[in-house]
């Protein structure tokens, strides 16, 4: 999915563009440049790939080829509610993959992706260190233990209602 850059991201990208000449345009600078962009934007939007390709005078497919080789680069913006589903040994045994699949179905995205409204992103993680609570998910900073497929809907709904509430309050103010 191609995300439209919001105003803040656009200005950040413009800032980065002005910084690029300092870094130099040798192709060996490709990864540092990509890291810089990810540090600022938290992901690599399609526009950034073209910016980098133009700056280093290489083809976008080369930039994308390198960026996708490494796990450190993301191509989807993190959601406001970043859902991390644990699929470590204990969670796997306790059916973590079913939880992940429920999130994917409910949010209509695949793991590693972000919903179009940027509210949710779903990732899988290896272990969050509280195996006794398996299966575990982490939403933002909050750990939810003993997950069940039926709880997934509740979590998503709660986040959406929370958002609506905030918007209503904003309007009233």
């Amino acid at each position: 999915m191609n995300f439209v850059l919001d105003a803040q991201e656009k200005s950040l990208l413009e800032q980065i563009k002005t910084k690029l000449p300092e870094i130099g345009n040798d192709r060996s600078k490709l990864i540092p440049v990509l890291q810089l962009i990810q540090a600022k934007l938290a992901y690599l939007p399609a526009e950034a790939i073209h910016v980098v390709a133009a700056h280093l005078d290489i083809s976008p497919s080369e930039v994308y080829g390198v960026a996708t080789f490494y796990n450190q680069f993301r191509f989807h913006p993190p959601g406001k509610n970043a859902v991390k589903v644990c699929l470590g040994t204990a969670c796997h045994v306790k059916g973590g993959d079913i939880i992940l699949e429920n999130f994917e179905r409910k949010l209509e995205i695949k793991e590693g992706e972000t919903t179009a409204d940027r509210e949710f992103s779903v990732d899988r993680v290896a272990c969050v260190g509280c195996c006794a609570l398996a299966p575990v998910i982490v939403v933002g900073e909050t750990v939810h233990g003993h997950m069940q497929p039926s709880k997934v809907e509740g979590l998503v709904l709660r986040a959406r209602i929370e958002k609506e509430k905030q918007e209503r309050e904003k309007q009233q103010k």
Partner: protein
């Protein structure tokens, strides 16, 4: 020289030969997907595993990764190795879809062959298969990524071998993806090779999609006639139609690959609008009747005006047989001497190039790869002869330096030095290079002439050349090179440049003991055309003769002057003066539509023929099909023919030389006898052909025609001066493009979108002077009309030059022969 034993047979191989190659030399074919002789080893597919029984390495190893060494004992049939390979195939097949029945690769798929041969018939894996999204890669290739087995051949060919970067490898591990960043037409003019080298059906040929399996086609070796290089191809024919062309390996010419113009440039042969019937005054008539009518008409003109009033024009796309027969018939009948090439300058340049291709200097296309310094004069490889650019890239990969002296904006898939100089100064700089690159001592052994010539060359240091420094830099590099090569175009350069290129090559050879010379020529058989032409003969002269009334009848043999003659209006008026226009052709050209008498001729696929490429290599093309209208057209789609009759519809076409023979009342033996008769006549009478064997006995890689050294043609400073200052004028240069300017390939639907839009190139600083910006619509007023196209401002081209691709969609033929100069005031922006 390592000596090793493979499958109990001993072999000596050159050092650094891989075991897989050593086995191939013994005739043992070890399975492989990622290994390709042109691309080298990567060890990605693991299917070339063999067992090393004795020697420095032991156990099951990849034969493509290990150099042959002394005392190795290798078994390809060892049980452990065979089992290993069987399992490799099985895991390569884990994710491969079961779509062989609908896959175009089925039937010539390496993966399919290996799977069957390896005995992996039943699938044990029950899990989900990995899938990908396919991309649109343009009109030539179909992408089907799910079939990929990750051999990396495509990205290695595309990026490493051919030097283009828009297709590559993305992601990693189980998700590795081969494609572009986003949908789009592939930028490389060599992309068609991906369908040849992909071991399975990830890239398949798009124009022939869903038309047939390999075994449905009649496959026949052929040669590409879309430029002068003469690369080898295989033509695939089904239902009386050439449907696909693939590259054919040639040690001497193209190696393993061909360019897209050559691969897809054959569709002219099966076009629906191709005329298949003889015509008199626009009406279809039986062939014999047309011959009779034509004979009468010619006789009448001969009686009235003398037989000299009949002028015949061949072309650079005639086969040698046609060119020879034309010469023979003209002599027999007392007609004017035939011309073959478009204008005087081209005739002169081609003829001098032919005479200067001395046996010690001439190199083949493959030998270009071995050069360590390539100096290019007035040639644009990627546009004029794409495979030359590929060969030069291989030289560059081996560390060669490459420099191009040319006014055009040149783009090549490797790093090179471009000196954009105007055409007038090109020869001067070439001569300056001689002086900087070769010392006076080395010149002496070439004789008195050479020293005198050397002394006359103006010194770079004492001159005010704008690119003085670069020239002396290049000269220094040329001086220190070991295997220099001079490449020279004949199309846009002045008449002196091909001469000087040869002189430079001679001097370099004298200094270093080794130097190469490589010309490009305007057409597949321009070499033959040059051999048959006299210096004074050209189509330009024929037009003058028509204008002054000396010529009353014009016979055009597979020639369409409307395509390339620089002044269309003049040509039209000249043809209108004629009493008789006769056209023999296999494309329905403008000239053919003007003909009073028209004869359909056969393409090289239908009759075969011999063509001589730009290095003088005579190569024979066998007949691939018997001709006739493709079944898809006679039946209207896939229906069987709706009209029944004896014979094949559209079968009336004959070879141009057969029709000529009929006109001349030559004894009509069988086709083969007639062909060898004209061939023998040619060998006996035309100098240069004497070394050719009887027809039908040319070896696959052809025979090089050698005219021997001609010392009298060497070393002349005549006409080499600094060009006059054209401050207020631009020189207009019509040029060739990879796609869209060559007549035969311009008929191909699938190449149409690749041609790009018509445009006019101008140096950016010139454009700024005239207050023009990139993308402006320009109008250029010439004496014969106005040319309109978009401006493309380029940094890297000669100032004072306007470059116009002879695009089929651009009405550019409004200039006189010779130099076209445009005053600044006549270049305007259309608002």
């Amino acid at each position: 020289m390592p000596k090793l034993v493979i499958d109990d047979r001993e072999i000596d191989v050159a050092a650094r030969t891989k075991v897989i190659e050593a086995a191939a030399q013994l005739g043992i074919w070890i399975p492989r997907f990622c290994y390709h002789p042109a691309l080298g080893s990567v060890g990605a597919c693991r299917v070339c595993a063999v067992k090393f029984i004795q020697g420095p390495v032991k156990g099951v190893q990849m034969s493509c990764m290990i150099d042959a060494q002394d005392n190795m004992v290798v078994s390809t049939t060892d049980e452990e190795a065979v089992d290993f390979r069987r399992h490799v195939i099985e895991w390569l097949m884990l994710n491969h879809p079961h779509d062989c029945p609908v896959c175009d690769e089925g039937g010539h798929c390496l993966l399919q062959d290996m799977t069957v041969a390896g005995g992996h018939g039943l699938r044990r894996y029950l899990g989900k298969k990995r899938t990908y999204t396919d991309q649109y890669l343009g009109p030539l290739l179909q992408h089907e990524m799910n079939r990929c087995i990750h051999c990396y051949r495509c990205s290695r060919f595309y990026q490493e071998f051919s030097g283009f970067r828009d297709l590559g490898v993305m992601r990693s591990a189980n998700q590795t993806y081969f494609g572009r960043y986003e949908n789009g037409v592939l930028e490389s003019p060599f992309s068609g090779n991906l369908s040849d080298i992909c071991p399975t059906g990830v890239y398949t040929d798009k124009p022939s999609r869903f038309f047939g399996r390999r075994w449905d086609y009649q496959r026949c070796p052929s040669i590409c006639i879309n430029c002068s290089l003469g690369c080898h191809t295989v033509a695939s024919i089904k239902y009386r139609e050439v449907k696909r062309q693939e590259a054919r390996f040639s040690e001497a010419v193209n190696g393993y690959f061909i360019c897209d113009r050559g691969r897809y440039g054959f569709f002219y042969a099966g076009l629906e609008e191709r005329s298949r019937q003889a015509m008199v005054d626009g009406k279809e008539v039986p062939f014999d009747q047309a011959v009779k009518v034509l004979k009468e008409k010619i006789e009448e003109i001969g009686r009235g005006q003398g037989s000299e009033a009949i002028a015949c024009v061949g072309s650079a796309r005639n086969s040698i047989e046609t060119q020879a027969m034309l010469q023979h018939v003209c002599q027999l009948k007392g007609w004017a001497n035939p011309s073959y090439l478009m204008d005087r300058a081209i005739t002169k340049k081609v003829k001098s190039a032919i005479s200067r291709l001395e046996p010690e200097l001439v190199v083949s296309l493959r030998q270009v790869e071995a050069a360590d310094f390539i100096m290019v004069f007035g040639a644009d490889p990627i546009n004029e002869a794409p495979m030359l650019a590929l060969a030069m890239r291989q030289a560059r990969r081996d560390g060669a330096e490459i420099a191009v002296l040319d006014p055009r904006p040149i783009s090549l898939p490797f790093r090179f030095t471009h000196l954009p100089v105007v055409l007038d100064d090109l020869s001067l700089y070439a001569s300056a290079l001689i002086k900087t690159a070769v010392g006076r001592d080395a010149v002496k052994e070439l004789g008195q002439n050479a020293t005198e010539f050397y002394d006359v060359i103006p010194d770079v240091a004492g001159n005010s050349y704008p690119v003085k420094e670069q020239i002396s830099n290049l000269g220094e590099k040329l001086r220190s090179s070991q295997r220099p090569l001079i490449v020279c175009g004949t199309e846009i350069v002045r008449e002196t440049t091909p001469q000087l290129a040869a002189d430079l090559a001679l001097f370099l050879r004298a200094a270093k003991g080794q130097a190469g010379l490589f010309y490009l020529m305007p057409g597949a058989n321009a070499f033959g055309a040059g051999l048959f032409s006299r210096v004074e003969d050209s189509f330009e002269k024929t037009v003058e003769d028509i204008e002054n009334g000396a010529v009353k009848a014009l016979v055009l043999i597979e020639n369409n002057p409307f395509w390339q003659f620089p002044n269309r209006l003049r040509l039209k008026q000249a043809l209108d003066q004629l009493d008789l226009i006769v056209v023999f052709d296999y494309v329905n050209s403008v000239a053919a539509q003007k003909a009073h008498v028209f004869f359909p001729t056969t393409t090289l696929f239908e009759s075969g023929g011999v063509f001589i490429n730009q290095e003088g290599r005579a190569q024979a093309v066998p007949q691939a099909l018997t001709g006739g209208i493709p079944i898809a057209q006679t039946g209207g789609g896939d229906h069987p023919p709706r009209v029944y009759g004896l014979g094949i519809s559209g079968f009336e076409a004959r070879t141009a030389w057969q029709i000529l023979a009929e006109l001349a009342d030559l004894e009509l033996h069988s086709e083969e006898k007639l062909r060898s008769k004209v061939w023998n006549w040619m060998i006996e009478t035309i100098p240069g052909f004497a070394a050719l064997p009887p027809i039908g006995e040319l070896p696959d890689d052809g025979i090089r025609i050698e005219l021997g050294a001609q010392p009298s043609a060497r070393f002349s400073m005549e006409g080499i001066t600094k060009g006059e200052d054209l401050a207020e004028k631009f020189e207009l240069i019509p040029v060739e493009w990879t796609f869209g300017t060559e007549e035969l390939s311009a008929h191909c639907e699938c190449l149409r979108d690749l041609a790009g839009k018509p445009c006019i190139f101008m140096c950016r600083s010139d454009a700024e002077d005239l207050n023009l910006t990139d993308g402006d619509q320009l109008s250029i007023e010439l004496d014969r009309g106005i040319i309109e196209a978009k401006l493309r401002a380029e940094n890297d081209m000669a100032s004072g030059t306007l470059v116009i691709p002879r695009h089929k969609d651009l009405d550019w033929q409004k200039m006189d022969n010779g130099r076209a100069l445009v005053p600044k005031g006549r270049i305007k922006k259309i608002t």
